[in-house]
Symmetry: C2
Subunit: 452 residues, 2 copies
């Protein structure tokens, strides 16, 4: 009978596998892996530290290797590929679909790629080459060429006979492609319509000439957006002349969507796209250190700004105590606007005609919250230090910084986007530098002008 | 012929629609909306400020209304529903599938819900009630009851005849469900196998009894994980007795995945799950103000810690200047670890058996980066202020704070997760409070001990 899946079993499985690995229970491990879906084996591998990862990989049945590899994320995959010998690699590569192999090869070190290309048989190499002619992350790279196409002037009965001559259909075949003698795409024929129509009907009568299609050079981001909006299972990929090249299926799109959201999350913390939580210490430290270094530069800029006001700080120590407040509130408010702007950009919701409305709105939101929280901060400051001047000045500085934060939260990502830089990666650092500097400058600057 | 889709056309379309709205060109707008897919109409509506949004909604053809509504996000939908009269609402509701209607009704204000339920016809209400018996965000809520089921002892020829009696198949029918006389689920029969098999074959011979299924009470997060791992198009939903209740299809799962990633991104900035970028100023300010208030409490805690060291700050003004550095570096390093931990939790990659390894690894990463950047910071500090004592102390404080950041980055999300609190929402605030406090405490504390 069927087994019901629940998530807790996954972590329980992980606990089980780790204890089997520690106790060296090879037979149990083999049995577990044979009963586990390759995608889940990949997830198990990714949940293990380097040594245990390679121990478990040794237990993966050879027949499963290529499928498990195709489910692994780039970074984890690299650590495993490093331990495979060339024979194993070639065997795994030859059982991959060309589009998976192309992605796989992209991530390999160059010497391995060359060795692989030389060892592969001519047929595989040719199919791989044709995939590699398309740009990375384009529709052409995502598509499979495994397509069933039919002519428009045949009957459904003929289509049914033709399908029955297949051993199996390509995965996720929800529709057949209708093409002419030159291979030009004419429309799609839903499998559901094949099943429900009278066998004498001609294909032309029930095919859908208006179905959505994509060009081979469309970015995978835009292909995914189309799938999402239209609830598609598959889409035809055409070249510039309208010739059918292949089809993209929803399973690859789900991966694109997941990778994009992963990337957005990881990049917002200055992490590598495919950061491996279980990578060894030194590579992890090196990768993350870069981001810490960038942050160090920005925080030294902020410190330098504070340093311009040593005199004020020497005379009124309360300024030093209150220093983080204005900067921190600006950073939080700014990152709210920034996050919304980045999301709206991804959804294509920002056009020239509504930017000004957005800017006005965000500045007003900043003004409202600035005033509300300025009153609170000023009150607490007054109660704490009993100094009305400092209380007033921190309130005004807060309002100024929240206005600056709102402006930066829109302008910075729009500019980065225009310059082709991913705002998810660098937007937050630039923004907090701005809010830190404006925060310190307005608070200490006003204090220097009015209190000293 | 088919039209090729590209993203730039979407923002161009938006610009066009806004300029038509501003010029009051009703006919052009009607023509544009008729030529636009309901999902894209929903996106256009979401890209408009409140007034223009309601103007455009007035142009949406009545026949499209219910579909456009089902594509809108909760918050934008609420603003539009507010403007519909009851008759319009009932008409829209009655043309929704029960599972879409259940989601729609969940988000309505209570008085409207009651009015709707009363005005609906009995059949619709009954189907809706059966969906509402399932918990929110569970498999039961996601599923459609529109399923084609067959018996195991009939031939494929019979199945084909039975299918041909349908006008159309339910959307995304990649497989039929095999059930027994009591409605118990026995397995699935792929449509592809129906098409490629000999018509005399019996269903039992080619059905897949081992196909993945889910229980009605499984969370939508876990259902989505299963779809992703197994590349599914649809999955059968069973009750506790193994009876077939319905099926979930990939289009709904794509929405779940998108909503989850959206939620993670928005929550990390303390934003509402369905925050509407084009909401009016006051509601936006109120929602975001809450998060600013929470941040204000944490930053006052940090300021209070600084206040304990007034004496040191009075004597050495350089301490005030350098104050942000230690706290900021800790915050960045901590949020890197935090982000990775939250992601690993979502992927079920953290179990009891690997937590200790992870903790050790992250602390070591913190130690390595702490030492590297401590040297840099100490050097810059020495060159800037010429004081070896301050330079040494800021270096040591930095190392201490990066160790604390690594520990917090793992422990905080794990604890929150165990307590059933989403670490994506509150993890970052708690973490930066810790790194701020430890940063100020270690830097100013060491300075007080050794320099004064």
């Amino acid at each position: 009978m069927t087994e019901l899946e629940t998530a807790p079993t996954q972590t329980a499985l992980l606990d089980q596998v780790i204890s089997d690995l520690e106790a060296g229970r090879q037979e149990e491990l083999t049995a577990t892996l044979l009963a586990t879906h390759p995608a889940e084996v990949a997830n198990l591998l990714e949940s293990l530290p380097p040594e245990q990862r390679s121990e478990l990989w040794d237990v993966v049945p050879v027949a499963q290797e290529s499928e498990v590899l195709s489910f692994l994320h780039d970074e984890a995959r690299t650590t495993i590929v490093d331990e495979m010998d060339e024979g194993e690699l070639v065997a795994a590569a030859e059982s991959m679909a060309p589009e998976d192999l192309a992605e796989f090869i992209d991530e390999l070190p160059e010497d391995l790629t060359n060795a692989l290309l030389i060892s592969m048989d001519a047929d595989h190499r040719k199919r791989l080459d044709s995939v590699l002619t398309f740009e990375e992350a384009s529709a052409g790279r995502l598509m499979s060429t495994d397509v069933i196409s039919v002519r428009k002037d045949v009957s459904i009965a003929v289509v049914l006979r033709w399908l029955r001559r297949h051993e199996s259909l390509p995965p996720h075949t929800d529709s057949l492609m209708v093409i002419d003698d030159e291979g030009l795409y004419l429309g799609k024929l839903d499998v559901a319509d094949v099943l429900t129509s009278n066998p004498e009907t001609e294909v032309e009568a029930i095919m859908q000439p208006e179905a959505a299609t994509v060009r081979d050079n469309l970015s995978e981001h835009d292909v995914a957006a189309l799938f999402e909006r239209r609830d598609l299972i598959s889409v035809a990929v055409l070249d510039s002349a309208g010739k059918l090249l292949g089809r993209i299926t929803i399973d690859d799109i789900v991966d694109v969507i997941r990778e994009e959201s992963d990337r957005a999350l990881l990049r917002s913390a200055g992490l590598n796209d495919e950061e491996d939580m279980f990578a060894p210490v030194l590579p992890s430290a090196r990768r993350r250190g870069v981001w810490l270094g960038i942050n160090l530069i920005t925080v030294f800029i902020a410190a330098w700004v504070i340093g311009r006001f040593e005199e004020a700080l020497e005379q009124i120590v309360a300024l030093a105590v209150l220093l983080p407040i204005v900067a921190s509130m600006g950073g939080i408010a700014g990152s709210q606007t920034l996050t919304l702007t980045i999301r709206a950009l991804a959804l294509n919701q920002i056009a020239n005609a509504n930017v000004r409305w957005l800017l006005t709105k965000e500045v007003l939101v900043g003004a409202v919250n600035g005033m509300v929280w300025a009153v609170v901060v000023a009150l607490v400051t007054y109660l704490w230090f009993g100094n009305i001047g400092i209380a007033l000045i921190i309130g005004i500085a807060l309002i100024l910084n929240l206005l600056a934060a709102a402006l930066s939260g829109i302008v910075i990502p729009l500019l980065l986007n225009r310059w082709g830089i991913d705002p998810a990666l660098s937007g937050a650092v630039i923004l907090t530098t701005v809010t830190d500097v404006i925060g310190f400058l307005s608070f200490l600057g006003l204090a220097t002008l009015f209190l000293i």
